[in-house]
Point group: C2
Chain length 134, copies 2
DNA sequence: AGCAAGAGTGAGAACCATTGTCAACTTCGC
DNA sequence: GCGAAGTTGACAATGGTTCTCACTCTTGCT
C-alpha cells in the first residue's frame, strides 16, 4: 500500500474565520448559524465553504459534531481531543464536556457480550441549563 | 382546560400493512426500505403514508426511531415499551434491546450535578453483528 | 344496509440541510 | 515572482422528509 498523499492544508482567510468563530463560543452551533455569525461580523464566507471547513475540522479532530432531534448537524470546538461526551442545553446550545469511564466500559462489555465487533457508541445528554431556567 | 379532542385513529389497510411489516423484522428499517418491502409484498402504500404512519406509531410509543450517521431515520417495533436502548448492527440493522440501570442513574446524576434540568439522554451502541462478520 | 362526517390516502410539489460542480482565485514552496 | 495545486463561491443538484389537496375509505348512527 503506497503512502496516500497527505493532503496539505492551506491557511486561508475563510478557514481562519470559521475556526475563530467556533473557538469564540462554548455552544454547539449549526453550519447555518455560523455562516450567519460570520456574515454579521463582516467575514463573508460562502455557505459551502463553511460546510467544507467544518468537515475538515471534524476530520482533524478539532471539532465535534452532534445531530439535533430534527437532523441538523451542530458543531463545537472542544477543549479535549480525547473521546468524550456532552451535556448540551436544548435551549441555548451551551455545553459541558463529560467523560464517564464507567459508561465506556459498560458499552464495550455489552457489545462484545452479544457478539458484536467494532463497537462504537453515541452517548449525549440533553437538558435545560441553569441560565435558561432563570 | 377542556379535554382536547382525543383524535380518533382509524384502522386502514395501509396502517395494518406497515405495522405488520415492522413487526415482522428484528431490524431497524428506514421508511424507504419499508416502503419497498411493502411494494414487493404487494401491499402498495404511498411513501407519504408510510412516513405518516411511522410517525403515528412513534408518537404512540409502539415504535422506536434512531438516526443513522448520515441522518436517515430508522424504525423498529420494540418488544418493551419502557425506556431502553439498542445495540444495532451497522451492516444489517439487526438489533438487541439493552437496558442499563447504571447508565440511567449516571446520566441523571451528571446532569443535575451541572445544574441542568429536564435531563434526557441518547445512548445507542453500534457494531457489526456475528452474522455479518462471517 | 344507507348515509354523512371527517379521518386517511396518494401523487407530486415543496422544503431544506447538505453536497457537488467548475471556473476563477489564493497560497506556498522554490 | 512564478506556477502548481489547493480553495473558494455562486448555483445546481441531492435526497430524505413533509406539505397540499382532491378523492377515498372507515366509523358511528339510523
Amino acid at each position: 500500500m503506497s503512502t496516500p498523499h497527505p493532503a496539505p492544508v492551506r491557511m486561508t482567510r475563510q478557514r481562519a474565520a470559521v475556526a475563530d468563530a467556533l473557538q469564540g463560543s462554548e455552544e454547539f452551533r449549526s453550519a447555518q448559524q455560523l455562516h450567519e455569525v460570520l456574515r454579521q461580523r463582516g467575514d463573508t464566507v460562502g455557505l459551502a465553504t463553511v460546510y467544507r471547513t467544518l468537515q475538515t475540522l471534524v476530520d482533524g479532530g478539532d471539532v465535534d459534531v452532534l445531530r439535533t432531534d430534527d437532523g441538523e448537524s451542530i458543531y463545537r470546538w472542544c477543549a479535549r481531543r480525547e473521546h468524550h461526551h456532552h451535556l448540551v442545553c436544548r435551549a441555548c446550545g451551551s455545553t459541558v464536556e463529560i467523560d464517564g469511564p464507567t459508561v465506556e466500559a459498560w458499552a464495550q462489555m455489552v457489545g462484545t457480550e452479544h457478539g458484536f465487533a467494532d463497537i462504537e457508541h453515541t452517548i449525549e445528554l440533553w437538558g435545560i441549563c441553569a441560565d435558561c431556567r432563570r
